[in-house]
């Protein structure tokens, strides 16, 4: 989709700079003149929302690090110092802690949008895999960030999650000891988690740059899944059309974000994390943050320690292979009547697993978790099979046709030919 640059340096300084470092040209080509499919719906604003959330988390995080003390005896009180004494400290800390949750809300919508519209299919496989890598980095960052307040959930969450690695044969125990920097989760663990929690967001930003690069190279998918055929008819320039739409989506998202920050700041947290870490007493129920719950449920559904860890890891890693698992050539599930039903079942399975992850490890929850875990992986098997026999609905011939309902005549072009399935 990358055509010739339309950037025209206007002033002498711009020409001078353009000959030496064409950075303004890069910005112009990727954020102004970049052609965007004209039929993108509001679900496509979540990419921009995620960039906004990453920047917001980095800004608030760097500020919090100015006031926080990464030491096992002082961390809890330094967070309370931020909440009580630092000017606007309560605001910055609630923005950061709720921002993590909102980041995951946005990323899950973004992932499910990609699933529904087949955004992982050729030629966007690398784009999709980079997304899975970002998701993994986000999970690592969020987990280590949750340890930093050094409350009861921080401590026991860190204990449970790091102990997952002990399931690995032979090297497991060594890995765990190296993660801890000791023989239990303690001050050295907190110190290294703080350091890594500071580092990882910048690595995420780096992979995001690759993700956007790949996106701008292959062009955006769109709700029809039909590739751009005629840039003139099928696309609009990024600015102002996509810019203003992304801004609108972003501000709507910020309304939800602000509702939690100002009115329900502890809704997505755990009360137990307001109790200082105590290695001598585990809270009655330890659960991860909500965004890990589906994977936590898969972990607990497998009665074997190593098996559970592998199933949990597999549940994420399998996403990276989706471009080759799904056998259908049709991208958008709008035109895939059978796959679409499986998609919605998969959404419900994920929500169900999330609910079960929060429940105690008793019956009937364990049995239901096992059924849903099978269904989770079953979705991927189904995608491989459905593509073979499914008869997709007729696809529009072009993006423009789908937008104009086939009345391309208004633009002075021949009415679209009879819709047909496209490869």
């Amino acid at each position: 989709m990358s055509g010739h640059s339309t950037y025209q340096p206007k002033t002498g300084i711009e020409r001078w700079l353009d000959a030496r470092l064409p950075i303004v040209r890069l910005m112009h080509d990727s954020a102004v003149s970049y052609p965007v499919p004209r039929n993108l719906n509001l679900l496509w604003t979540f990419g921009g929302i995620l960039v906004f959330m990453l920047v917001a988390q980095i800004i608030t995080g760097v500020i919090l690090a100015m006031h926080y003390t990464p030491n096992a005896t002082m961390a809890f009180n330094s967070v309370e110092h931020i909440m009580r004494d630092v000017n606007f400290g309560w605001l910055l800390r609630y923005l950061h802690s709720n921002g993590a949750s909102m980041f995951f809300v946005a990323v899950y919508i973004h992932i499910f949008r990609g699933l529904y519209y087949g955004s992982y299919k050729a030629p966007r496989e690398v784009l999709w895999i980079l997304g899975v890598i970002i998701f993994l980095l986000m999970m690592a960052t969020a987990f280590m960030g949750y340890v930093l307040p050094w409350g009861q959930m921080s401590f026991w969450g860190a204990t449970v999650i790091t102990n997952l690695f002990s399931a690995l044969p032979v090297i497991g125990e060594t890995i765990v000891t190296f993660l801890w920097g000791g023989y239990s989760v303690d001050n050295p663990t907190l110190n290294r988690f703080f350091s890594l929690h500071f580092l990882l967001p910048f690595m995420i930003a780096g992979v995001v740059v690759l993700h956007i690069w790949a996106l701008h190279h292959v062009g955006q998918n769109n709700p029809t899944g039909v590739e751009v055929k005629d840039v003139k008819k099928d696309t609009v320039p990024f600015t102002p059309y996509a810019t203003i739409k992304d801004l609108f989506g972003m501000v709507c998202f910020m309304l939800v974000f602000a509702w939690f920050v100002f009115y329900q700041p502890n809704f997505m947290g755990h009360a137990d994390n307001y109790i200082p870490a105590n290695p001598a007493s585990t809270p009655a129920h330890i659960v991860p943050e909500w965004y890990f719950l589906p994977f936590y449920a898969i972990l607990r559904a497998i009665p074997d320690k190593l098996g559970g860890v592998l199933a949990m890891g597999g549940a994420i890693v399998i996403l990276a292979f989706l471009p080759w698992i799904d056998t259908s050539k049709v991208k958008s599930m709008t035109y895939r009547p059978i796959a679409r039903q499986f998609f919605w079942m998969f959404v419900l399975v994920c929500i169900g697993l999330g609910y079960l992850g929060a429940m105690p490890a008793d019956e009937p929850y364990v049995t239901i978790s096992r059924i849903l875990t099978v269904l989770y992986f079953g979705f991927f098997v189904a995608l491989a099979l459905i593509g073979i026999f499914e008869r997709p609905a007729p696809l529009p011939t072009s993006i423009a046709d789908s937008v104009l309902g086939g009345s391309g005549a208004r633009l002075g072009h021949a009415t679209a030919a009879a819709p047909q399935a496209k490869g």
Partner: protein, 183 residues
């Protein structure tokens, strides 16, 4: 590169009211964000509260001796001056000073023995020597800053070297004959 828009020649030539209002809202929102992002840099409530006035008993300071203490994290010198040092400080022609101040302006009436000054050189903030016995006191029986060679006299006034101003006098008051409250 051609786009659907390029087929139209109806680009509005004037910025209409809606766009201006939206732009103004965005600008106001961005400006409001700056308040907490910069406000957090100011001293927090704990730092401010820790700066409450402190009491100091001067009786243990013998004549000719000086002590150091901290208030609000800033170093303060308290010197019990000898008669010679007081006389020298008063004898100076104020008009010749770089930062003209009389010794009376820098001490409390009736307590001229005691000089209370901030202990950081007004040049670039080093701690001048001259408190402990044996330390160089500079050419004017006061303090000598080893970093860049500023000389302060026995009233803490700058007399020689790069520093522009006298050592400032912190806010303090005598609560009894040999007791002061700093702050």
């Amino acid at each position: 590169m051609a786009h659907a828009t390029d087929t139209t020649g109806t680009e509005p030539t004037r910025r209409d009211f809606l766009m201006l209002t939206t732009g103004a809202f965005g600008a106001v929102g961005a400006a409001a964000l700056v308040v907490p992002l910069l406000g957090q840099l100011a001293p927090d409530a704990q730092v401010v509260a820790a700066g409450a006035p402190i009491d100091l008993d001067l009786a243990p300071i013998a004549e000719g001796q000086a002590i150091k203490l901290f208030w609000r994290g800033k170093l303060i010198f308290v010197r019990n001056r000898t008669k010679k040092e007081i006389d020298e400080a008063k004898a100076v022609d104020v008009a010749t000073l770089r930062d003209p101040q009389t010794d009376e302006q820098r001490t409390k009436a009736g307590h001229e023995r005691y000089l209370v000054v901030y202990g950081n050189c007004t040049h670039l903030g080093c701690v001048p020597l001259g408190n402990a016995a044996g330390e160089p006191k500079g050419e004017f029986d006061g303090w000598f800053c080893p970093c860049h060679g500023s000389h302060y006299d026995s009233s803490g006034r700058i007399r020689k070297g790069p520093a522009p101003l006298n050592l400032p006098v912190p806010p303090y008051a005598f609560t009894a004959d040999t007791k002061i409250k700093i702050g």
